[in-house]
Symmetry: C2
Subunit: 415 residues, 2 copies
């Protein structure tokens, strides 16, 4: 019997205990090892829990118990999760986690500590919830150069956008509904501002390119400024708006990495990933496009990914898994202002149409007008081709000087 | 330097050599081991190949060379691939393969031999080409009971059906086009009769349920009888026809396993898997639905899966991976005649319509008529609810006795 501990008895933590208990015999049959839970760490009391005798409020109980070989950190947040994880790894215990914030901000350091102490730090559940992505990506990596990763990485914002697209619901109403259904938290900032997706693309990029890409180097935009007018123009253009986390290796070996809403074509493999589902596309030089799709969050899916990691640690008690990357800094990321891509623009102006069209042709590359039904007479929308961000910003400044109001500006994806 | 050998220098084999050579330095960086190719076995001569000195026509060269630790069997067919694989495993070498026919027919025995000799027999490339499915499935399995697996497992038939659905091309024309493009072989039987998909669902079922499900126990139907009329009725019904390999565990612990064309709803996760792409859905009790999607065949995708397995063997030279199952027999499979599902029926009769409708209501469960434009006046189509196959066959026999011709009968999927 190998003993494990679970730190944090919230949604994911209680799911981990449930999945482990429920599959105990099938796990034992498959791994030839029984896995027990010796401690559950939480500062709260759970007087009705059947696991009464396992609860502790003291981290030291876990840290100092040599029987505990694997610990699931499902507390969330950076502190004290970071300090706990560090001490556990240093004491020779493997740690698995669903804590994307911790992996995205401290991953390189924690992986280094794990390496030095010959234990594992695994985090399959930190991206994609129950969708296996960390392991398959590392398998793709084995025999591929990863050209690009692009994904719908946050279920809450995808739910909101789906409601806007399918039911013409406003952003505010869709957010309220997501909160009512428990998909969005009372403070939804981490989701709707793009930070959650930013952490996830940080983790995928670090794994794929071997150096830590910290979230502060990832251009991060949320969906709070997306309107139903934009959704309608996207439909006219032939696609939908999705919040995409994306990383590509550029020719100069820097990374174009971003989280932002993008227009994607209707027949793109990610366009039909709706509601709370996640979809992640990995483009390898040999495999071509491979897409992973499933529920990106939720108690049992996420818990089952944590449990899969626990099992993997148990199978590799004295061996390290090859999930690893070195530290990194901002130099591996191409500054956003220097990246180039096409955009959709929605404008408001009383300027005569022909004058506006001439101006647009002058300032932007390969401009096409997009129309929608019931647009106000002073509203216009355009799609433009690739342009370096800084150059486009100058063109937009010139437009503004002529009294044109820029209502929306959304990246057009090449997916 | 760990030495490998490649048996078979066809499409996949030459791809394996190419991928291994091309990624040699990145593989070495990741695995801390360089992998060399010492032999390439083929009975043909390749005078223009840059790997001249590696070619051999003698299997014994590989078998007797203790330096060779991992062998890629990419010859295809059961003989002599089976005899070669067996001898290699017995001599303590790990073997990886893309040979679905061999894994589906001899997998249990070869896995047992691998187990007894503490080496690995890996076969990621046997299902899904470059789409990682064997490893992710085994990861899903770690913390899930697999409720169902359903997939579009054969790119050739999916290409043909896509042409029929999207371009109203006849089966014969679409097949000819697939052959022209190199997607279908000159003798396309294994694809269009469903045998290739049958082998793949055999492998997935064996892995998921722990006992070998031999292809002869899998009900296998191809797509040769699908007509454009069926495609049109499927569209009226609200879906498309796809060749689906499917396995579900039934309440009595037997498996409902089949390969056959099915009507699937337009909003199903597999309905948009088109052209030569494969899509595989795994339904776990904890993860819910997870879908894997990508190119199911092709030189480099398949080769990169083989290479990933080679790398995995190199990383686990003295340890076994947990891809394994016991032998099995027909008793684990529910006889097809005893399984229950709904169908679509296309009929031809001069019987007055009301009489036919009455008869259908009598004989079948919950019958709904489906109509299409331009149908002949003596053609009718219906969807019926769940019915045990043997019972439905009796109802169909009764119809026939009344002079009704049954032109088509296609399963309706619950996906």
């Amino acid at each position: 019997m190998v003993q494990a501990a679970v730190m944090g008895y919230g949604v994911v933590g209680s799911g981990v205990v449930e999945v482990l208990m429920q599959h105990q015999s099938s796990i034992a049959r498959r791994t030839k090892e029984e896995i027990g839970i010796k401690y559950i760490l939480d500062i709260r009391d759970f007087p009705d829990s059947p696991f009464q005798e396992k609860f502790t409020k003291s981290f030291e109980d876990i840290l100092n118990d040599d029987e505990v070989r694997v610990v699931a950190e499902v507390m969330g947040g950076v502190h004290p999760a970071y300090e706990f994880t560090k001490q556990l790894l240093e004491s020779g215990k493997s740690v698995v986690t669903s804590n994307k914030e911790l992996v995205a901000t401290m991953g390189a350091e924690l992986l280094k500590i794990a390496r030095e102490h010959n234990v594992n730090y695994l985090f399959e559940a930190s991206v994609g919830g129950g969708v296996p992505i960390i392991r398959p990506l590392s398998q793709c990596l084995a025999a591929n150069d990863v050209i690009e990763i692009a994904g719908i990485l946050n279920g809450t914002t995808n739910f909101i956008l789906t409601k806007m697209i399918r039911e013409n619901m406003s952003f505010e109403d869709a957010l309220a509904m997501a909160q009512q259904l428990g998909y969005a938290e009372r403070n939804p900032a981490a989701d709707i501002e793009g930070h959650d997706a930013g952490r996830k693309i940080s983790i995928l990029a670090s794994l794929a390119y071997g150096r830590h890409v910290y979230p502060q180097f990832v251009h991060t935009e949320g969906i709070t400024h997306i309107t139903l007018a934009d959704v309608a123009y996207a439909a006219s253009w032939g696609g939908v708006i999705k919040l995409i986390g994306q990383v590509k290796r550029l020719e100069d070996d820097t990374l174009d990495i971003t989280v932002e809403p993008m227009l994607i074509e209707r027949n793109s493999q990610l366009a039909n990933v709706d509601d709370v589902f996640n979809g992640i596309l990995v483009r390898g030089d040999a495999t071509g496009d491979v897409v992973f799709y499933g529920k990106g969050a939720g108690k049992l899916p996420t818990a089952s990914a944590v449990v899969a990691d626990i099992i993997d640690c148990v199978k590799h008690l004295k061996r390290r898994k090859y999930f690893d990357w070195a530290d990194g800094d901002g130099s591996i990321v191409k500054p956003y202002e220097e990246t180039a891509f096409p955009v959709y623009l929605r404008l408001k102006t009383t300027m005569p149409k022909q004058e506006l069209l001439n101006k647009m042709q002058q300032l932007f590359v390969n401009v096409r007008e997009i129309v929608r039904a019931n647009a106000a007479s002073d509203e216009y929308a355009f799609a433009t081709d690739d342009m370096v961000v800084a150059e486009r910003e100058r063109a937009i400044a010139a437009l503004k000087e002529d009294g044109v109001e820029v209502l929306s500006k959304i990246r057009i994806s090449d997916l």
